[in-house]
Subunit: 216 residues, 2 copies
């Protein structure tokens, strides 16, 4: 049975992992007949956002502990990730990818990427194992893998930041997957477009299917 490592960045679109993208990634993996384990970095969130008002709350939350809400408690610190134990690595989106896994939301093309995230991506790249990323997460992958080809949909500012990192951005529509077959990187826009939950299910399913096909 093929095994995915899924990396979360909190729990909630505005300060963590996008919950629909995360949940539907897990569903897509299970429907493909594969298994998953869930990881997140054991760090403080950049901030906590009230998801009704969009305002910052005077609180601190931990990315690993909040991600455990999506994982129903079955989660490990990303520092313990071992690429030899997995066939694929998958990053759902949400602002957590741009605020907790990296500083993309604040520093754009010059952002730094969390050390454990960088290590996990590089380990999979070296092992020639596939990496999937949804929504804004492809920009984080682009910051780590020089010259990778990805999509985040059609957002001009983010696409320009990705190109400024030395990567190639291809525009895409709902559910479409951009495949970089040299680097084995599979990306899809999800909620970076004005999408419905049906589009997210299609996007997650299509990325997981492309990854499973690459493993045949």
């Amino acid at each position: 049975m093929k095994k995915f490592a899924v990396v979360l960045s909190g729990s909630g679109v505005f300060d963590g992992a996008e919950i629909h993208e995360a949940t539907l990634s897990l569903l897509a993996i299970a429907q493909a007949g594969a298994a998953y384990e869930i990881f997140a970095p054991d760090i403080q969130q950049h901030h906590v956002i009230n998801h009704i008002t969009g305002e910052e709350m005077n609180e601190t939350r931990n990315v690993l502990i909040e991600s455990a809400r999506i994982a129903r408690g079955k989660i490990s610190p990303l520092s313990s990730f071992d690429a030899t134990a997995f066939d694929a690595l998958l990053f759902p989106g949400g602002f957590g990818a741009a605020k907790n896994l990296s500083t993309l939301a604040f520093e754009g093309a010059n952002c730094s990427v969390n050390m454990d995230v960088k290590k996990a991506i590089k380990a999979m790249l070296s092992a020639k194992k596939p990496i999937g990323a949804l929504c804004i997460a492809p920009a984080v992958v682009a910051r780590v893998i020089q010259g990778v080809i990805v999509t985040i949909g059609q957002d001009k500012g983010t696409a320009e930041a990705i190109e400024a990192m030395g990567a190639t951005h291809l525009n895409s529509d709902h559910g479409e997957v951009v495949e970089d077959s040299d680097n084995l990187v599979y990306t899809t826009p999800c909620y970076m477009l004005d999408a419905t939950i049906l589009d997210i299910y299609n996007g997650a399913t299509n990325v997981v299917t492309a990854i499973m096909d690459s493993l045949k």
Copy 2:
């Protein structure tokens, strides 16, 4: 287009709405060609649980604000729910149903039910409109609708509490729906059994399908 009201109870299985059940309910509704709006009571959570350790955290969180994480910000206080605007009412599970929507987790068969939850259920019952509930949430419905027939799976203690409320409990397996066609109440066990995310998707889909069939 048929329209569901989905009632959440926070965001995270141990102190709020179960995230997979909530997300996959939304997916099932969209896949059935129906629309949804999301509601939650504007109250403090009973407590906040660290989802890795299971221990209580020294924090307070609001049920409506945390539910907004699953709803991506598009959510209304349950006090504003108007039964005339909807075709069906749906309660995903999670301990939030037993801790925030009611006091079931602490008082069993003698529990009280949040006023807005009670009002919403009674309004739908009076209007002869269907109500769905997953996981532990059927026990909350059983406390409001005298003599209703529901399932929460096979948990003996909870089944006995439901019977002690004057309701009827029928055992069920993964994905099965118990239909009470007099009261138009549709329930399925989801994570009240030792289930996978595939079972949750089946359970949510089967409840939504049964409700859609009842609306024909």
